[in-house]
Symmetry: C2
Subunit: 330 residues, 2 copies
Amino acid sequence: MTTDKKIRPIHEYVEGILGGNRILLSRAITMIESKKPEHQSLAQEIIEKCLPHTGHSIRIGITGSPGVGKSTFIEAFGTYLIREQKRKTAVLAIDPTSQKSHGSILGDKTRMDKLSINENAFIRPSPAGESLGGVATKTRETMLLCEAAGFNTILIETVGVGQSEIAVHSMVDFFLLLLLPGAGDELQGIKRGIVEMADLIAINKTDGDQIDLAKSARKDYSMALHLFPEKESGWTPKAVTCSSQEKEGMADIWQLLLDFQQLTLANDWFENNRKQQLKNWFYDLIDLGLKHWFYRDVEIKQELRTIEKKVVAGKISAAKAVSQLLEKLI
Amino acid sequence: MTTDKKIRPIHEYVEGILGGNRILLSRAITMIESKKPEHQSLAQEIIEKCLPHTGHSIRIGITGSPGVGKSTFIEAFGTYLIREQKRKTAVLAIDPTSQKSHGSILGDKTRMDKLSINENAFIRPSPAGESLGGVATKTRETMLLCEAAGFNTILIETVGVGQSEIAVHSMVDFFLLLLLPGAGDELQGIKRGIVEMADLIAINKTDGDQIDLAKSARKDYSMALHLFPEKESGWTPKAVTCSSQEKEGMADIWQLLLDFQQLTLANDWFENNRKQQLKNWFYDLIDLGLKHWFYRDVEIKQELRTIEKKVVAGKISAAKAVSQLLEKLI
């Protein structure tokens, strides 16, 4: 059994992933998430080899406040995609809060019990113990490997608080915001900027005695969405109702996704947006790389503490301290 | 006349600033804002020499949506501070939007006509043509020189949109949020995070037929402020009404500032917060410095374009491209 766990040659991972081998896919993702330099460089080689086989998917970001039913929605929507649309669906997450609580979203796979055992689904929780920048990079790389493994629908879940939606938005084609019936209360928890990012608002839990409330919320959001400036994609954001419990509304949502894709493929936004995202990611990685390099330098670490004390004590200006540090290094 | 404009020896600037010479203070700030390396290094020397004379002030951040009457408030509050409290007051601004519109806040000094001609006031608009990080650094350095010149009250204005409040919050002791009467409408334009940062909410334009509305808004905000988690400073945020037009409420606001200062000096938060801010600033400057150095390298600039194209074309992974770039440089 232990031989299975050891590191294999790169080509075995690559061939495995391209052949749709989920175990090797998982192991490669573990390399991506690993802090060990040898795992890191192996992961980079695997990604490099898989690169020509990536991109053939629709990438969907899904957000919403805690309690809106994201997991139940993804279970229902993912199952619909696999059964009715024959789509291979990967579910990833960006959740920087998991580093604190260790309660990563998607971490509790039992919340998606049907989806997690489906052979056409692949569920991977948010990597733990990372900054948002780190989590986003790892999720993006994981997405590429999933695409290479033949997953043509990528769902990236995030929590509806903080900066993580911006990270998800920067790596998906389409951004879906889940809300609850009861528009007014809901808007307080969701930042205006997130509503502006949405391509589709789905009022979840449209079932039981909430149907009327949900329908009226849908109308309100439809109106509100028209007040935002037109999107570069040329797409007019929509609002729909759905019930993850009753598995209703899934076909409508999928149809809207197809409409969106058709429109944005035709007007070249789909391709241009991905290129722009790739470019931004490249520059984000440069920033991360520079910091990583700077703070790894052992001499700098020692110097940093001494000089930080001087700065805080007001004995040297922050700017001068930084010039001195950088001069020494460069 | 032209000899006045030429660069003087460092000690002349320093002595001038410490002696309260506003012309030399202005010129030194112009050096801070200059892009020329010789001005930059001169500015750093001046700051360094002034450093022992900084910090003896209360630093107050002031924010609010456009239209809330920030300039009129600062005119009224600044005049009150100078006349009634004999405080020397400097008014600075952080407005990264000014780089686009060239219509910097505070740029139009006529909006503060009484204050701008008062010899105990010093007004300096937001530096233009900079990123938020750059603007924030320059404003912070300007604040230090103002303190060295004897200004013991620093008001830093910002617009109530985007990330600039976080920048202001990171360099002040006390954060004042101006709102208009009519609580519900107002909250939509102001992000929840900004309300959470506030030490004081002042309902401006409490005059004419808006007095009742303002009083009821004050009550609502007082209640809302109690719902937020307790602040590290130990201070309970307050809500008051004021009228910049009628110059009412200024003494109350000043009294609350004194209460705040007394409390936080006693529990050491005042000093500890400044130390923490200085530390954070130091690390922000390291980030800025690393980027600056990286993108200034001419070889890198050429290489960057070539490699960016490869990344966007999917010929090389972003991570591998970045490692190659950094390896070459380091």
